[in-house]
Structure formats: structure tokens, C-alpha cells
């Protein structure tokens, strides 16, 4: 070791930002996305078409909106498995309101309000009563969707006003749908919230070490409550888009989405154990999942088989780094 000067000046950072970016999970994921894009365009002549690609974005925009909020929640060390049920309940509430003749602005308010209300319920149970979020949200998942079933049974709501269709079917300009633009705006907002604010820093601190965060004066419960509320809010917004796109509501709407949303978040490099991850990663993961689903769809692969791919994608992306690490460790030992 070289001689250490009396008072060393410690640099702020090591390496350049380029070297740090290059080795990241997001870079790897981005490469995967590019590969899938190339494979898709080789596999199907219909793939490289602006309108087809625009259609493909509907595969992920609604889920990704919820995934942004879920990413913050998982980084903070919690999880919300009730998101899909919130979407179902919000959609049911809008359906009932539409039946009663409520107009488009009212429907949007009811959808978002239901989402926020459900988020508040989860927040009170987890942050207020300090209960484990996995079990609590398994409970609220049954409760929220159960209410939708009580209201709807085996029936369906339809008859939404014409102007309501804009959120799921409208285009802002050229091939850019309202949903896609909303997705992009929300991505920027959430990235700013997580990476550029005190709130985001505190979320990371809680996820890495809740004790130390609490001991640093962070109001852990308040932040967790806010995160559940935010997740409810985003589920409400997703419900508006989805309901508008489908034009009808069944209690089984968005069934199983919670798994796809968690998969998207984890695939995006967010640690399921909390404390690490970026919104950029989740955005790329959304594209990867959208492209895989769309590509398989062009090849006429049925939906349930696609879900095998999604499940495999989840397990492989999590196990691969572990296996590589173990392999390297064995080699060096």
C-alpha cells in the first residue's frame, strides 16, 4: 500500500457515470429488449408496423402504471397483492355509476376515488396496525374482488358513455395512444419521485433498514401509508383505462394481474427483499413483457402458454444472477 497522506481528500464518487451505467441490470435488460425486438421483427412480417407496435403497447401500459407504484412499495419492503382486485372493484363501481347515468368526469372520479379508498384500507391495515402486508393484501384481495362479485354475480356492466372510451381507445397524436402518453408521463413523475426527492430517498432507507430509518427520524408508517395510497390511486387510474378500453366490466376483470405486475417490477431489477431498484428498470421491463406477449401473439401462441413464458421469465431473471454468482464464487475458490 502506498503512503497515506496526513489528511486525505476523499473523492465524491468512484469511476464515471458511464462505467456505472454500463454494468447495471438496466443495461442488460435493455439489451434483452433489443434482442427480443430483433427476433420479433425477423419472426413476423407484421411486427415492424407503427400501428401494430402502437397496439402492442396496450399489453403493458395499464399494468406498468400500477407497477411504478408497486416498485416503490417493494423497494420499501412491502407488497400489495390486492392491486388487481382494486382494479376490479373500481371498475365495478364505475359500471354501477354508469348504469345510474353518471357522466364521464364523474365516472373517472369514482374509479380513481375507489382506488384511493382501497389504498387507504391497505395503508391503515399495514402501516397503521403494523400487520404483514403479504397476508393483509391477500385478505383485501379476496375482499375487494369479493365485493365486485356480490354486486355483479355472473352479470356484466356495459353501456358506458361514448366520451368515456377516450381513455382506453383514444389517441393523443398519430400512433400515440392516450394510455401510452399517460404511461410515459407517469414514468417520468415516478422516476422523479423515487430518484430526485427526499421521499424517494426515505423509501430506499426504509427498504434497506427499517430500524435505522426509524432511528434517523423518518416517519416510516406515514411513508408506507402514502405508498399504499399511491398504489391504490394508480390501480384506480389503471381501472379507468382498462374499463374504457374493454367497454364492459365483469368481476373477473384483470384477474391474475397482481402476478404480472409483481413480475414486471422484479424483472425490472427491483429487489423483492426491498431496498434496491429503479423506475427506469421497470419501464424497460414493461417493454420487454409487452414485446414478448405481442410477439407470441403474432405467432398465435395462446394466452395461457404466454403466462408460462412470463412465469419462466420471472424465475430465470431472479435465479440467473444467483447462479452466476455461485459459479464465479466456486471458480475463484
Amino acid at each position: 500500500m502506498s503512503a497515506i497522506p496526513e489528511k486525505r481528500l476523499i473523492p465524491d464518487r468512484l469511476g464515471t457515470s458511464a462505467t456505472r451505467l454500463f454494468g447495471s441490470w438496466e443495461a442488460l435488460l435493455f439489451a434483452v429488449a433489443v434482442l427480443i425486438f430483433i427476433a420479433n421483427s425477423l419472426a413476423s412480417p407484421y411486427f415492424l408496423n407503427a400501428w401494430n407496435l402502437s397496439d402492442a403497447t396496450f399489453n403493458f401500459t395499464e399494468k406498468a402504471m400500477v407497477a411504478f407504484a408497486m416498485a416503490l412499495l417493494i423497494i420499501a419492503g412491502e407488497i400489495d397483492l390486492s392491486v388487481a382486485a382494486i382494479i376490479a372493484l373500481a371498475s365495478t363501481a364505475m359500471g354501477a355509476a354508469a348504469q345510474a347515468g353518471v357522466g364521464t368526469p364523474g365516472l373517472v372520479a369514482i374509479g380513481i376515488g375507489t382506488g384511493v379508498g382501497c389504498g387507504v384500507v391497505n395503508g391503515i391495515l399495514v402501516a397503521g396496525l403494523r400487520l404483514p402486508s403479504i397476508v393483509v393484501t391477500i385478505g383485501t384481495m379476496s375482499l375487494f374482488r369479493g365485493i365486485a362479485y356480490i354486486v355483479l354475480g355472473d352479470k356484466a356492466y356495459g353501456g358506458y358513455p361514448g366520451s368515456f372510451a377516450y381513455f382506453g381507445q383514444g389517441y393523443v397524436f398519430w400512433v400515440f395512444s392516450f394510455e401510452f402518453v399517460l404511461f410515459a408521463v407517469l414514468a417520468i413523475l415516478f422516476a422523479a419521485l423515487l430518484h430526485a426527492t427526499n421521499f424517494g430517498r426515505r423509501v430506499y432507507a426504509i427498504g434497506n433498514n427499517e430500524f435505522a430509518a426509524r432511528f434517523s427520524g423518518i416517519r416510516v408508517e406515514r411513508i408506507k401509508f402514502t405508498l399504499f395510497l399511491l398504489t391504490g390511486l394508480m390501480s384506480g387510474i389503471a381501472a379507468v383505462c382498462l374499463t374504457s378500453r374493454l367497454g364492459s366490466t365483469r368481476p373477473s376483470i384483470a384477474q391474475g394481474w397482481e402476478l404480472e405486475i409483481v413480475t414486471m417490477v422484479v424483472l425490472g431489477g427491483v429487489s423483492i427483499l426491498g431496498g434496491a431498484g429503479t423506475i427506469g428498470g421497470v419501464v424497460i421491463a414493461a417493454f420487454v413483457m409487452g414485446l414478448v406477449t405481442f410477439g407470441l401473439g403474432l405467432l398465435n401462441v395462446p394466452g395461457i402458454v404466454m403466462s408460462i413464458f412470463i412465469g419462466l421469465l420471472l424465475i430465470v431473471t431472479i435465479t440467473l444472477p444467483v447462479i452466476i454468482r455461485q459459479f464465479r464464487h466456486r471458480k475463484s475458490a
Partner: protein, 333 residues
Amino acid sequence: MIRQLFKFREMLLVIIIAILLAVFSTRSPGFATPGNLANIFNDTSILIILALGQMAVILTKSIDLSVAANVAFTGMAVGMLNAAHPELPLALILVVALCIGAVLGAINGIFVWKLNIPSIVVTLGTLTIYRGMAFVLSGGAWVNAHQMTAPFLQTPRQLFLGLPILGWTAIVIVAVMHLVMSRTFLGRAIYASGGNPTAAVYAGIDVGRTRFFAFVISGTLAGLCGYLWVSRYAVAYVDIAAGFELDTVAACVIGGISTLGGIGSVAGAVLGALFLGVIKNALPVINISPFAQMAISGSVIIAAVIFNARQERRRGRIILRDRGASEQIEVAA
């Protein structure tokens, strides 16, 4: 003290179930007759068996969300086997079901044991994969009653002392699980791995391997239930038991099994399952739409989680050893 608490907890559940039965029989005199009670027990048998597997997993501080998908795949596999080879004896089919279930459980367990992946992620992934495989296996086709042989369909329905073989199967499994949990090394290791993983390692227990075996138990029981389910409902299709994994978790939570691991009993899981079974069977009797069942089990899960948390919080560390202090604890609690 905690043993008394468990007794208290289990007694409480017995009393609640008894009260429910009494209330329901005022609405419908036939409800609490021995014949109908045997019927309810028989109807709840599959949930009891699956809840016991889930209990073993939860005690080790893990969760198995893939049990219902395991039921679907195994059920489809044995249903198709029976349809294709009606000459095969039922005993062989049972062995096949148990083996398939065990292998699917072992796959979950391997990821948790060897790669240290959180069980919730692994089983979220395998949940979609196993059900997807059921689709791949069948091509989406159903196996109907007329394709299956009489012994395959009728054996679990044979009455023995007034209770069908299905119910007796559950009783046998309860007895076996009780022996395993209380009288074998594996049983103690399961409690120790969840209660205090660090201490378990020092005591020479391989926590990962213990979790693996818990998943194998859960998988094997799910395999058994795959056969039982298909024979009971006389049909096999991809979506059987969809969402049933949540009922198994609910039964455990209601039965007082702590989702933090290490606390819970076989009796608790069985009573939790029976509680859900009684409610499910009572709904038509008291003129509540069967669609309400989901919301009710959601509410019950939430209530049980709150109740469990209160029980667990009550124990404080005791430093002050004189009597005055212990009186204060009573006041504070």
C-alpha cells in the same frame, strides 16, 4: 404459557364454529344433523389436506402459492391417464398423483433451498407455469365424467361408518401430519427453522433443506388433492381450483399459524379450514348469494391477521423481575 394460549385459540375456534352451527340450524333445522355435518366435513376435506401442507411451509417462514396450480396439473395428468389407460389400477394412479405433486413441490423447494430465492417469488412463478403446463398437457380440452373409470370416480365416495372415504382420507392425513409435526425430527426442524433460523443453524439444522422438505410435503398433499378434486367433481380442466391457494393461506391464518413462521399447530390449520367450510356450506342455507363467499373469506383473513398480531404483541420482554413490575405488565397489556 404459549401452549395454553394455543389451547385457548383452538378452543375459541371450536366455540365459534359451534356457535355458527347453532345459529345456522335455527335457520334450517337440518343443518346441524350428523348426516349434514359429515357432509360438510367431507366437503372441506380437500381444503383441510391442502391447508396442512401450507401450514408446514408457512411454519418455516415461507409460503406456497402454487398449491392450487399443482392440484390443477396433477388432476389433469391423472384424469388423462385414467381416460387413456382405463386398465391401470387406482393404486398406481394414486402413486402417480403423489409423485407428480412431490416433484412439483420439490421444484419450488430446490429454488428456495439451493438458490435462496424468496418463496413468494418462486411460487408466484411456478403458479403460472404449472397451470400453463396443465393447458399444454391437455391442449385446453376437458376430461369428462364419461371418460373416467368407475373405480377412479367412485372410490372416494364409498361410505364407511357414515363418512365417505374422502373424509376418512383427510382424517388419516391429519393424524399423519400430527405425528410428523410433533414426533419426528423433521417436524421439530420445521418449527425451529421458522422460529429462529439463526439458532436452527447452530443446532445443526439445515434450514434450507428443512424448507425444501416442507415444500415437498405441500406438493405431495397437493398431488393427492389433484386426484381427489377430479374424482369429486368428476371433471378435469385447466382452471380447476383457481385461486384456491388463497383459501389454504386463509385457513392457516384463521387457525393461528403465524406468517412470520415458527408458531402454529395441526389442530389450528384443521379448525381454520373447517371454519371456512362451515361458512361456505351455510351461505345457501341462510340465503346469501354464493358470490359473497369470497368477500367473507377476505374479511375473515383480515380479522384473523389482526387477532394474531394482537396475540403476538402481548408478549413483552421481562426485565423487571419483582412482582410490582409484573402487575404493571398486566395493566399495560
